[in-house]
Symmetry: C2
Subunit: 184 residues, 2 copies
């Protein structure tokens, strides 16, 4: 019907997205080291060489694939605690694959570690600025660390007590704790 179903630019775009999607999924599931170009290629139904041709190297593929849709800054309309709690899943669905891939790799891939540390440091700065009482930076860091720990335990490790808890219940139970940190 509409134009050639397979123009060159279109094919290229689609294959590239197929590779990126497959890469995100596998990076998220296995982390950087254990993800092989061959596995990504197979999942994308493509030759391994093509992945290299498109992205240059495994490292570059990783960077392109897990480029996190940068954490939106606190918009200040909500209270910081609620803003944070919202992020545990009340408003947004499950974490994007890119984020999971990044988290999965952050303990064993130096670049991922650096990236995550930077992102978290940014969040800490914002939060500290928002709550701004005594020892704000330390307490903000603990709030962020708490979110990190809960997310890891819930999404990556699958603690049995958290596995079947709904994000809402988790957020609810977590609220007093975060508030205690925010208020001081």
């Amino acid at each position: 019907m509409e134009g050639t179903p397979t123009s060159r630019a279109e094919r290229r775009r689609r294959t590239e997205e197929r590779i990126l999607s497959a890469a995100r999924a596998i990076f998220a599931e296995r982390g950087f080291q254990r993800t092989t170009i061959r596995a990504v290629a197979a999942a994308a139904e493509v030759d391994p060489a093509l992945v290299m041709q498109y992205f240059g190297s495994k490292q570059d593929l990783f960077e392109r694939a897990v480029r996190i849709p940068s954490i939106p800054p606190l918009d200040g309309e909500l209270e910081p605690v609620e803003e944070l709690l919202g992020r545990i899943g009340m408003k947004m669905g499950p974490l994007p694959q890119a984020t999971l891939a990044m988290m999965r790799s952050m303990l064993t891939h130096p670049d991922a570690a650096e990236e995550v540390r930077g992102k978290l440091d940014g969040q800490v700065a914002q939060l500290a600025d928002a709550i701004g009482s005594d020892e704000a930076e330390l307490r903000a860091a603990l709030m962020v660390s708490t979110m990190l720990g809960v997310t890891i335990a819930h999404q990556l490790l699958g603690l049995t007590a958290l596995r079947d808890a709904s994000p809402e219940r988790i957020a609810e139970a977590l609220r007093p704790s975060l508030r205690a940190l925010a208020d001081g």
Copy 2:
């Protein structure tokens, strides 16, 4: 002086310990995948083949090296919250290498993940039993997750806000948060 400084049993014991020590250090620094038998052998000043001869396989070496000096059960003499806080560094020094190695690997090595999940589930059960009010298990899981997150952010990621904070300050700032979770 005392016997031959190099009896057979003695030499064996020492070399084995030297390998295990090197393995712990490198596993803790790089995680399971990125740790090579060759690197461990080099650090222990030994031939790679000897490592295999002693421990059979990389996986076996890992299991032997990171066998955590099993987390002591809550002894019930202290309040659970204080007990947990104590573990962040007030009483004990820095975490043992074995624990760090386990944590470093838990997101990318299925066996390590399984092990850690088991250990944490155990802690959750104990804590839930100790605090035992409404939704105890969920809240206990969140307490454990918080400790996990803070430890990761502090020891493995090195969040700048936490890097130079003393364990005492961290524990102090964290107390109200954990208490909020424990009391409900």
